[in-house]
């Protein structure tokens, strides 16, 4: 029995180090190859020894697909390909291919240069790994080999994010990666056609959340930022360099412009300018509005957002009282003013500049940190969001958080409604949840099973889900046979389902369905005709011709749907069954009727003989 098997090595009832193995029709595909932000030990990478203990991974995997450039989806890639060893193709979209190596290099620097880790992948390994990448276009059908094909759909989550359909013959799986079902200020909404996969593997980060309207969230965000800077506070917004950063930059940029604000906005890393450049060059991946207007104004060229100045971070709290109103031009701006907004990386406050700035500013209640996205367990971001106000930092130092902590979901993930919507769009036979928390998944699983009546699974890491499939078998039918059948299907009497009869010729992997006659001819075989002739004795004193005529009218009255004919030579035919009155036997009161038919007319022939056995109805004399 054919089946589809799915084993998450990461992201099974968890968020982080997404890595899902799929076996479909004998092909093995690995979906994503991420790292886990919550761990610093072995657990940060998926356990590839699950695939094979000895031997190269290349022998066990037909391809690897990366859904987008976030490190929890691609962070383990150089480790996987260069240190464990994989030489097969790695598929990702063009923007992902462009941005992925930069984030990997960034990640490597933090791990090796800052934390001093040994046995980590090198810059060269990142380069070598990227050489194995094959870039795909949206909606392009990529033939991995003769049987396995993949196709990318727009996912909206970040620049270049894609959902992938993996297809072998008539069996298919769709993996969503991370996606967003509502367009935002710089990206469009995820979309997939009604491709009816056997299985849809979907992220479920916001499995239980139904978000309020985006407008409200944005208004709320702007209000909080505005209030804080107005009272002279600083706003820290931890973000990842690409993704929400651009979204929130566009949001603040337009607000600053509209309100004519002069308070500075900074972006913390050197990566940013480069990052924005990617957005400018990959305009076709952004939303419709940006695409339409980019010639006049490229939305990613910011006027109000400047490169970060360290002196600003070192200024821990308000020193100069800011002016009351934002429109006041007498306020000294820039570094002298303490008010301001900083976007800093990374987004979960687990390392780097955002954490440094956070430590400097945390003590002042006038400041505010706004967490615009999801935080993995174990990160500082997660701790402060769950209400912790005393944080133990390295060196047993305790950091007291006095600044305001706000959480605002600007993550470009689908919420529960969005997930249900996507399931509805694709119409899968089954759904499998990954990239979420077990408890929330449980809720969504029930909802999907009840509302959409689709089986839903949520395997933990290392747990395998097996789905039996029943793929239909494609064969070639000879056009003659098909047309004959279809023409008869159009006849008015063909109300009952009709049976098509033919011969399937199987030669190597070439399957053809042809008419029996053609099959015989192709194989150089002659037809063997099997014919039956039965002697039916009838009591009738009349002449043969008259007997034949009586038989004719009798059959004509019984067999209304059949072609009954009386031929000039005195014989009677019913379709191709031949009836002939033979010379009288010894008994002049008995006539012998010869009924003759071929094997192909057996039903009719046997029916006629048994009918005639009962004799002819009494004719009016």
């Amino acid at each position: 029995m054919p089946e589809i098997r799915v084993t998450p090595l990461g992201a099974g009832q968890d968020v982080g180090r997404s890595c899902i193995l799929v076996s479909i029709a004998g092909k093995n595909v690995m979906l994503d190859c991420g790292m886990h932000m919550g761990f610093n030990d072995d657990r940060r990478f998926p356990d590839f020894s699950y695939i094979t203990q000895n031997g190269r991974l290349t022998d066990f995997l037909d391809c690897v697909i990366i859904s987008h450039f976030h490190l929890d989806h691609c962070g383990a890639l150089p480790y996987f390909s260069e240190m464990v060893g994989y030489d097969g193709p790695i598929y990702m979209t063009h923007p992902t291919q462009a941005i992925c190596p930069i984030l990997l290099e960034d990640y490597r620097k933090i791990a090796v240069d800052k934390k001093g880790e040994a046995n980590f992948f090198t810059s060269q390994m990142i380069k070598d790994c990227m050489k194995k990448v094959v870039a795909v276009h949206l909606h392009q059908t990529v033939q991995v080999d003769d049987e396995l094909e993949i196709k990318a759909y727009y996912a909206g989550h970040v620049l270049g994010a894609a959902m992938f359909q993996i297809k072998v013959g008539s069996e298919s799986v769709v993996y969503t990666g991370d996606y967003n079902m509502t367009p935002d200020r710089h990206l469009g909404a995820a979309w997939i056609d009604k491709c009816r996969p056997n299985l849809l593997i979907t992220e479920s980060t916001y499995a239980t959340t139904i978000r309020d309207s985006k407008r409200c969230r944005e208004r709320d965000f702007l209000k909080k930022v505005h209030e804080t800077v107005e009272r002279g506070g600083k706003v820290l917004i931890p973000v990842f360099a690409l993704g929400r950063a651009q979204e929130l930059c566009i949001l603040l940029e337009t607000f600053w412009e509209r309100m004519n604000l002069k308070v500075p906005i900074y972006f913390s890393t050197g990566l940013t300018e480069k990052a924005n450049h990617y957005y400018k060059l990959f305009i076709p991946w952004t939303n419709q509005k940006i695409r339409k207007t980019f010639v006049q104004r490229n939305m990613f060229e910011f006027k109000h957002i400047k490169a970060f100045d360290r002196a600003f971070a070192d200024n821990p709290g308000p020193m100069v009282r800011p002016a009351a109103g934002p429109a006041s031009t007498s306020t000294p701006v820039g570094l002298l003013s303490s008010a301001g907004v900083v976007f800093a990386t990374p987004g979960m406050l687990h390392a780097g500049q955002s954490l440094q700035i956070f430590r400097k500013w945390a003590g002042n209640e006038k400041n505010m940190v706004i967490m615009p996205g999801y935080c993995v367990q174990g990160t500082v971001g997660h701790k402060i969001l769950s209400g912790q106000r005393k944080l133990e930092m390295e060196g047993r130092q305790v950091l007291e958080v006095k600044m305001q902590v706000e959480y605002m979901s600007f993550s470009a993930h689908a919420d529960a409604k969005g997930i249900m919507q996507l399931v509805g769009q694709a119409e899968p036979e089954s759904v499998l949840l990954v990239h979420g928390e077990a408890k929330k998944m449980e809720f969504l699983k029930q909802k999907i099973e009840q509302e959409l009546r689709v089986n839903c699974y949520m395997p933990a890491n290392g747990e395998t889900v097996t789905l039996p499939t029943s793929p239909s078998i494609p064969v070639g039918i000879s056009l003659g046979l098909l047309k004959r059948e279809m023409a008869q299907g159009l006849l008015p009497e063909a109300k009952k389902p009709r049976l098509l009869h033919g011969t399937l010729i199987m030669k190597d992997s070439n399957f053809r369905l042809v008419s029996s006659e053609q099959a015989l001819k192709e194989l150089g075989l002659a037809e063997h005709q099997l014919r039956f002739t039965c002697r039916v004795h009838l009591h009738d004193t009349r002449k043969e011709q008259e007997t034949a005529l009586r038989v004719y009218s009798h059959l004509k009255s019984v067999l209304k749907d059949h072609c009954v004919q009386h031929l000039p030579d005195g014989s009677v035919t019913v379709e191709s069954v031949l009836l002939q009155a033979a010379a009288p036997s010894e008994d002049p009161g008995t006539k012998v009727l010869l009924v003759s038919w071929t094997y192909q007319d057996e039903e009719l022939g046997s029916f006629l003989t048994s009918l005639l056995k009962k004799g002819l109805p009494q004719a009016p004399s």
Binding site: K274, L281, V295, L479, P497, T503
Partner: protein, 608 residues
């Protein structure tokens, strides 16, 4: 399968393919050479131009009158191969009752939108035939569905169409139209040269039954590389002598390559101080758009985007103020204008656009040069109304499309069963009738078409894909007939929906109803539509007789006949004639007996 040929212009094709149940239009180019029949539209009324006698009209407007060949409202889809081949689109989508879909790539649409057409840009002028309004153009463009290379698009479940990179321009495509067993390739405007677009995808064209070949180079004798060299040296010569260079061109396409060449050339030639002006209402858009289609560019340019840097060096020319672009000669340009300079502007026909102004302005001085690079118009005819002309004229047509040598290489590579092409490609050009190398040479010879012809394409469909449901497949009993060949007889119910065919297991025979109602005789009449298989094989008489004996028949007598044997069962008054290819059982009306004998005979035969 038929091909309706609506255009006779080999580089501006318009054909309609009827394939299975679909009607597919391949390109809808508009022949604009007839604009040369008109006088230029000058910026300022020119007494000289307006006193010229009117041109005699050639057979103009080729496309628009030839549509009685086929009812265009029956066209299901239109496939566009590049931005030059879509100028008749508004006519078809807005004036013919067309209700289908148009497929094109994103760069094709975005750049096609920018390209000038006399019909769009000169609608006010009464002497020019007015075809469509801006609204119609926009409405036509809104009917386009964007597609990517190698995207498989299903049409009504019957046919699949796929665009492939053709290497000629940004987003330019060839198309594959195929069903499960037939494949037509439509090759239109392709290039094997390495310029800025993604290279041509040749491999996917293999195994075509028919390859329709259009859009070859219009200047088969000119080598584009040599032409670019000549372009640069003439440009340098003129500028060094204090003259100006005018390049009449389209706002997109070869201009990107020319700017790239100049980017490399001007410094080495010591011309870095000479300003380059690009004047077109869409100059800015064209330059901006060229930078955002990374995915449609050649590998080198793609890798630049990964850095991230703009893929085309004209970004740097603009940044360093070497290249300046203006929407028109009005406004900023007149302030910035410095001579000597190089001006790129349209239209290449010299009949409208800002180029007319520069011809008037610079035509009188022999220091200046006009360099023709676009191959679409005869430069002599283009220049005719400006004669007498003192300025130098250089003809460097740059057409990167396939030449005949490349075509024959391509055909050898992809080996289509049949080639179909415009008749112009099956004979040498009229002006060079001795050049037998300037025509398509293939085996079997290419089928040629001319305008308003209908070709029956030479292949017959024999097979269609059908799916066998797994339950049915499980019930099949294959038997090996010859080594490597197995057979299984199939009796199944055919379901057809959306042009997809499916075989399902036959319904189980209905349980006989135990109703006590007396049945009428006719209720028992069998459904003769239940087909029995055919039989094959032969019956060895001796073994057959042994089998009969084993099954309790005695008193068996065998007689030889001319063609076989007769087996007599005397007791049962039954006679069985056995020949090589037939068996005939003649017996009394005893159904039990007949069925027993039948089953014994069938043991020796194979069913089909």
């Amino acid at each position: 399968m038929k091909l309706y040929c609506l255009s006779g212009h080999p580089t501006l094709p318009c054909n309609v393919l009827k394939f299975k149940s679909t009607t597919i239009m391949l390109d809808c180019g508009l022949d604009m050479t007839s604009t040369l029949n008109f006088l230029p539209l000058p910026l300022v009324q020119s007494p000289r131009l307006s006193n010229l006698p009117g041109w005699s009209l050639k057979d103009g407007n080729a496309f628009l009158d030839k549509t009685e060949l086929i009812d265009l409202s029956t066209v299901d889809v239109i496939l566009i191969s590049n931005y030059h081949c879509m100028m008749a689109l508004p006519y078809i989508t807005e004036h013919t009752g067309f209700t289908g879909t148009v497929y094109a790539t994103e760069p094709t649409v975005q750049i096609g939108r920018l390209l000038p057409s006399p019909l769009k840009d000169a609608v006010e002028v009464s002497t020019w035939r007015r075809c469509y309004t801006m609204q119609e153009v926009n409405s036509a463009l809104s009917k386009i569905q964007l597609v990517g290379y190698s995207q498989k698009i299903e049409l009504f479940g019957a046919v699949q169409v796929t665009p492939l990179s053709s290497g000629y321009a940004l987003g330019s495509s060839n198309w594959i139209i195929q069903s499960h067993y037939e494949k037509v390739s439509y090759v239109s405007g392709s290039s094997l040269l390495t310029t800025h677009p993604q290279p041509m995808d040749q491999a996917s064209l293999k195994n075509s039954d028919v390859l329709v070949l259009t859009g070859l180079t219009q200047i088969p004798t000119a080598n584009p590389d040599g032409m670019v060299g000549e372009f640069c040296s003439n440009l340098a010569l003129t500028v060094r002598n204090g003259g100006n260079v005018l390049v009449p061109c389209y706002p997109s396409g070869v201009i990107y390559d020319l700017l790239e060449c100049l980017y490399q050339y001007i410094d080495s030639a010591g011309l870095s101080s000479v300003p380059l002006y690009f004047i077109s209402p869409v100059a800015n858009s064209s330059l901006e758009f060229s930078q955002i289609f990374a995915e449609w560019l050649c590998h080198n340019k793609q890798s630049k985007v990964y850095l991230p840097e703009p893929p085309f060096p004209h970004a740097e020319l603009i940044q360093t103020n070497k290249l300046k672009h203006y929407p028109s000669i009005h406004g900023d340009f007149s302030n910035d204008f410095r001579q000597p300079c190089v001006v790129f502007t349209g239209h290449p026909s010299l009949r409208f656009g800002d180029v007319v102004h520069f011809m008037e302005l610079w035509g009188k001085s022999s220091l200046n040069t006009v360099i023709f690079t676009e191959p679409d118009f005869s430069y002599l005819e283009a220049l005719a109304p400006y004669q007498p002309l003192a300025m130098k004229c250089i003809y460097c047509p740059i057409d990167t499309r396939l030449n005949f040598i490349q075509v024959s290489k391509l055909l050898k590579e992809v080996q289509p069963l049949h080639v179909v092409c415009p008749e112009q490609y099956t004979q040498p050009p009229p002006a060079q009738s001795h050049r037998m190398d300037l025509m398509i040479d293939c085996q079997p010879p290419a089928m040629s078409y001319r305008r308003a012809e209908v070709l029956a394409l030479p292949f017959k469909r024999r097979y269609e894909k059908i799916e066998i449901m797994p339950e049915l497949a499980d019930s099949l009993v294959p038997m090996e007939i010859k080594p490597g060949i197995s057979l299984a007889t199939v009796s199944a119910v055919l379901h057809t929906k959306d042009n997809k065919h499916l075989l399902q297991p036959p319904p189980r025979p209905a349980q006989p109803t135990s109703g006590k109602k007396r049945k009428r005789v006719s209720d028992d009449v069998p459904d003769c539509k239940v087909l029995k298989p055919l039989l094959s094989g032969s019956i060895p008489v001796e073994q057959f007789v042994q089998t009969l004996e084993k099954h309790g028949f005695s008193d068996i007598k065998v007689e030889d006949t001319a063609k076989g044997h007769i087996v007599l069962l005397q007791e049962a008054e039954t006679l069985i004639q056995i020949e090589e290819d037939s068996t005939h059982i003649i017996c009394d009306n005893d159904e039990m007996l007949r069925v027993r004998l039948r089953d014994l005979v069938l043991k020796f035969l194979q069913k089909f």
